[in-house]
């Protein structure tokens, strides 16, 4: 299960990088949630940048082609997965993640730094995400992004 979960994290990065959104959604259970959050030293509390259930994720991905989006592509590098808890049916894991953006001129820069905090369960024998919180250190994202991290 732990190895399956690590592979799931790596696959989630690859599928989002390649904008295979249907397959990416397939890594989540229909009851799952996805969020991007950060601690704001300006407000001295957490702020939420995105908080979606599965149906809302579907809407977001379905509408993407109609938006004017940041040109270029993203590369997500997730590494150093740590198992926080494992009760035999559900894993809580944390993985450091860096997201690089490469523009159309070929220049790359770090777009975001943070951690995936995932809850993973086995569904029909396959590891699936039941919750992903992207806990970001980054709070300035340039023009921002229509695509989740």
């Amino acid at each position: 299960m732990v190895e399956d979960a690590k592979e799931l994290v790596a696959l989630s990065c690859l599928l989002l990088d390649e904008e295979k959104f249907d397959q990416y959604l397939g890594l989540f259970t229909p009851e799952s949630r996805y969020s991007i959050r950060a601690y704001s030293p300006d407000l001295r509390k957490d702020v939420s940048f995105l908080d979606l259930d599965y149906a809302e994720m579907e809407v977001l991905f379905r509408n993407l082609p109609r938006h004017v989006r940041l040109p270029g592509r993203f590369l997500r590098l997730a590494n150093g997965t740590v198992v926080e808890s494992n009760d035999g049916t559900q894993l809580s894991i944390t993985t450091a993640v860096l997201v690089a953006h490469t523009d159309l001129e070929g220049a790359s820069r770090v777009f975001a730094a943070g951690r995936y905090r995932d809850k993973v369960a086995a569904v029909d024998g396959k590891a699936r995400l039941i919750e992903r919180e992207v806990r970001v250190d980054t709070r300035q994202f340039g023009p921002g992004s229509h695509i989740p991290l």
Binding site: I36, S40, P41, D42, L43, R44, V47, S48, F49, L50, D51, A55, E56, E58, V59, R62, N63, R66, H67, V68, R69, L70, R139, Q140, F141, G142, P143, G144, S145, H146, P148
Partner: protein, 397 residues
Amino acid sequence: MSRSAVEWKAQPGVNPEDYVSAEIYTDPKLFREELERLKRATWKFACHESEIPNPDDYRTIDHAGVPIIVTRSSDGQVRAFINACSHRSAMVLREPCGNAKQWTCLFHFWTYDNFGSCTQISREEGYEQAGICKAKMGLREVRVGQKYGLIFVNLDESAPSFEEYFGDSFENLAEVLGTQNLEVFHYHKATVKANWKQWHETNMELYHEYLHVVNRQVAMTGDGFFDRQWKTYPYGHATLTPMVQKFDRVKGWKARNEKPLPGLGPNEFRIVTFFPDTTIIVRATAMRIDTSTPIAPGLTLVEQRGVGIKGESPGDRTMRIKHHNQFWGPFGRNLPEDAIAVEAVYETLRAGAAPYGLFARHEGNRGQDDHPVRTFYQEWSRYMGRPASAPSERARA
């Protein structure tokens, strides 16, 4: 038919107030002059009162390159000071916010209270022959104005009063901001590779709503979208007739019928732009306060706040945050599009590829009329003493 170089560079053949020169966005000398003559002479939104709710709370901001402390002093009054030590000018407070009765400069331990008085000079006796003492070494105080929980600062002691400057321009926000206690739940910054005025233009030039697929669905299909009327105020502020929008026109989104912000009907939209760089947009249940700080001619720091009702239930707050983030925030549907659009404009302006921008839409001050932008540039020209269409010319007045 395409145009030759001469035709491309020629004045556009419209009234001077209907276009602006590209130089106003790119010229480094004009940029420095703007900071001095305009930005530091106008009232700047600093923060919301909920960011400094308690005595001794402080918030630090940058206003046109000048670091400023906004504090609720120990007596409960809001005050502001330039965040520079009277000794060697080191920044006294370096955190974005905090709570302290005394502020000690890290460099030589000079200390100030949150009324701006200098309360300690390390080994003060060494300054006796120079006549320097605590009583003469207080921080430089900055003017503060407050309305409906919004805190503004002004570096210019001869600028118009807060009341005169804003006049009636808050009228569309009186109930929204003034009925219940509000608090900031969202804050983020975005660095945009464009001029600060371009960012503010996106809040006034609503012809650009074609850019946003969400607005095409939610707003442009709404009754009376094109018939709304701009109203402008002295000193360059503007507001638009409220309208009802159709949030459920976006597949998967819901109408905003429940729990609108105070004074608003279901699905109601309002916008008020304050000269020179602050805008408040309300979309029924969610509100955004937007302000910008110029860093360089082609670099702007945008700050955005999301605001909710203080003490509301966790469920209501979650709904409000969700509605806020649908449009705004770094992963909202609209904000990246605005940033991408203004950066695309600056790409052509920065090397002089394009000579001017057109604001020549005249539709009886209706929603997509450029009237508020022209009003902005009339005010800009007044502060700068030169027309925005030909900034190399000094005003003839």
